[in-house]
Symmetry: C2
Subunit: 424 residues, 2 copies
């Protein structure tokens, strides 16, 4: 039985590194801004390492800064460990639960085992994956992606800070001393293989709350792709340059953003622009020279994601030559996360734990709208996730909230899912 008070306290204790955007009076009424490999992220990583040490665990850091904490089982480590994994990085205007809860819950499971002196047969452990959010280095789940062999390590190392191109993910790993020597791979010879991977997460949507469920057994995640578009024009005086003589990238980018929304609507998909960037020397009476904007396209079926992407790009090319003297248009694919179905055995273990804990009416199967490190972990070991409700489905917002009893219930289900698969 996990200790729900300790869980809650630890969760919020770790939020002292990165607390931001206060919205209420209670000490915990703030959001979080703990971007990957920021100073605060480095602090919470060092805290995590210390806590693992206190429990007698061993810590391995790989080339991507992924932190693998291991608690030895009775049989002396003949097999890869069963992992509970998630991430301690947050959005710049994120909350206190996505997915600090997942790592702290996993730590609580280890603490519970330690306290009760319980010895598993095989090794169990916790993974803190680097840069899950993709907020600072705009490729989400980049380090579980490298681990899974889906992203070349050089690509991930070379990701640059979305707001400061002079800083790379690798330079930040080095600065903080988190560039480990173990290969970032599931290869048993060079890397760090896992036997299974469980992840507790807030739902980040409203379905559990709306249907009065307290647990979700996540059967998979929708697919998504991130594109960055760069539209190039030419500085010109806004008062003396007729429309016919202009190359206006901001007008074109605006049309593109509107068109991407329409394309997504046509297909019941999502398409969203979170970031638009212009040079810092823009001015009111000058047509700007360049605009870059992100696009995030999602749908449970990969085919639909691809169709929406194609329709967007066709439209973007058309728009690029529509006004004045036209604009330049280029794009890159930053994140490609196909739809995934989690492993049957792992999902089965979560379902059993949920059934046991809350009974048939209080849990449901659910598909994740967001990406998670489990999506990549699933490529190399049985993987599943547990969702707990979050208030009004609010996430990636400072007021993101998960009740203490739901945090505790999810953590207990995490412990039991892990035990389920280990004994099967």
């Amino acid at each position: 039985q996990i200790n729900s008070g300790r869980l809650w306290e630890t969760l919020h204790e770790t939020c002292r590194w990165g607390a931001a955007n206060r919205y209420g009076e209670k000490p915990t009424d703030t959001g979080m801004s703990r971007l990957t490999l920021s100073d605060d992220d480095a602090r919470v990583r060092r805290w995590f390492a210390t806590e693992i040490e206190k429990l007698g665990g061993t810590l391995t850091v790989d080339q991507m800064g992924n932190m693998f904490a291991r608690r030895a089982g009775k049989l002396g480590s003949p097999a890869p460990m069963t992992a509970m994994g998630s991430h301690l990085d947050t959005q710049p205007r994120g909350g206190r639960y996505d997915d600090i809860l997942g790592v702290v819950a996993a730590l609580e499971v280890l603490r519970t085992l330690h306290e009760t002196g319980f010895k598993t047969n095989y090794d169990v452990g916790v993974v803190n994956w680097t840069n899950e959010e993709g907020a600072r280095f705009p490729k989400s789940m980049s380090s579980s992606g490298v681990w899974a062999g889906a992203i070349p390590v050089e690509n991930a190392w070379n990701l640059s800070d979305i707001h400061d191109p002079s800083v790379t993910l690798r330079s930040e790993l080095e600065r903080h001393g988190f560039l480990g020597e173990t290969a970032c791979s599931s290869d048993p010879n060079t890397g760090y293989p896992l036997g299974a991977h469980f992840e507790l997460h807030i739902e980040q949507g409203p379905i559990l709350q709306e249907t009065s469920r307290s647990l979700g057994a996540v059967i998979g995640a929708q697919g998504y792709r991130w594109l960055t578009s760069t539209v190039t024009g030419r500085d010109a005086h806004t008062g003396t340059t007729p429309f016919s003589a202009r190359q206006d990238p901001l007008l074109a980018a605006s049309k593109m953003i509107v068109a991407s929304n329409a394309a997504a609507q046509r297909h019941g998909a999502l398409a969203s622009t979170g970031v638009i960037r212009i040079p810092s020397d823009a001015s009111t009476n000058t047509v700007v020279s360049q605009v870059a904007f992100t696009l995030d396209i999602r749908h449970p079926e990969d085919d639909v994601v691809h169709t929406v992407q194609k329709e967007c790009l066709d439209e973007f090319h058309r728009i690029a030559s529509e006004d004045g003297k036209g604009v330049g248009f280029t794009w890159t694919l930053d994140t490609d996360s196909p739809a995934v179905k989690f492993h049957e055995d792992a999902v089965g273990a979560v379902k059993c734990a949920a059934e046991l804990r809350v009974g048939t009416n209080k849990w449901m199967e659910i598909t994740s709208g967001a990406g998670h490190d489990s999506v990549y972990a699933n490529r190399h070991c049985p993987t599943a996730m547990i969702f707990v409700p979050c208030q009004d489905g609010v996430s990636h917002h400072p007021t993101e909230y998960c009740k203490p009893e739901d945090c505790a219930l999810g953590t207990q289900a995490l412990l039991e899912s892990k035990s389920g698969i280990m004994s099967s």
Copy 2:
């Protein structure tokens, strides 16, 4: 007869303060980035003061940092001086001519008078107006506007840097020692009245070049208004938040920018967005919380400017409630520069000078697409402008260019226009 070599050399000499955005190999193949009251602007101001001193002129700095340089006439200053005025500030990605040429040409006229020992009856002088561009402090011609009584001095002082709200125009005046004591006003008792105002400027459009004219007698300027719109939404996860639950200010702002362009096209007007701003903590997979964007609406008739503004705002309000849960929308009017017709006598003096200099086929009457300090000067003294061609109409761009012979011709016409009005 002005000294064209000295003019050209002085023009480019002053560009050492703020040269930026090199585009070619010659030393002068750069643009300029000399934002109002930046360190470089302060340097060129001090240079200007020194040059005036060398000519035995007297300098007065008013509350807005406007610099009035005066050369005494034979009659001992019984009347306001006849001024040649313009500005030394530039766009952040501007060129070397707008309107450094205007101030340097005026100085060249004083130098010519000085050198030849020519004594005018009445006083003549040069004005360097502060923050003409409105690029850093987004109200164009703000200091000639205060001088003319069109803008309260407090409003202008409180303008904050478009990219750094902690810095105001007044705090920068103080920092550089350009907060003068003379009232910024044309009032003869407290301020600095002018007898007439002439301004030499590059056309910033293609008409003179296309019609093979070398001089334009500017009869007026079109009207324009600058608005800043702020659209407010709510951070939300781009993967888990359905469109129906969103408040997406970037989608709404994009629609508004597209709609403003359409409204302007309907009326043969111009509407342009040069700056769009989102919080620095935006991220790819989060709907952003707030977007601000500028709008610059222009037309030779004030009625049309007002109609386009009204149609834009109507559309903006409609768009604000169109998608998801709607967004908040507010706007401010930042610059209001009605259309203007310059004073007949002053325009007449320019026409005579042009006719004399280049003959009937080589000059034309022209209306300015851009705003100028002359627009405000005209409210309190006979005012006119002289345009010289600029290459391909390019302005507010690093490659902006005006041929040495056109700079010289314009300067000579400036001298003769001024003399024309003084003897009339």
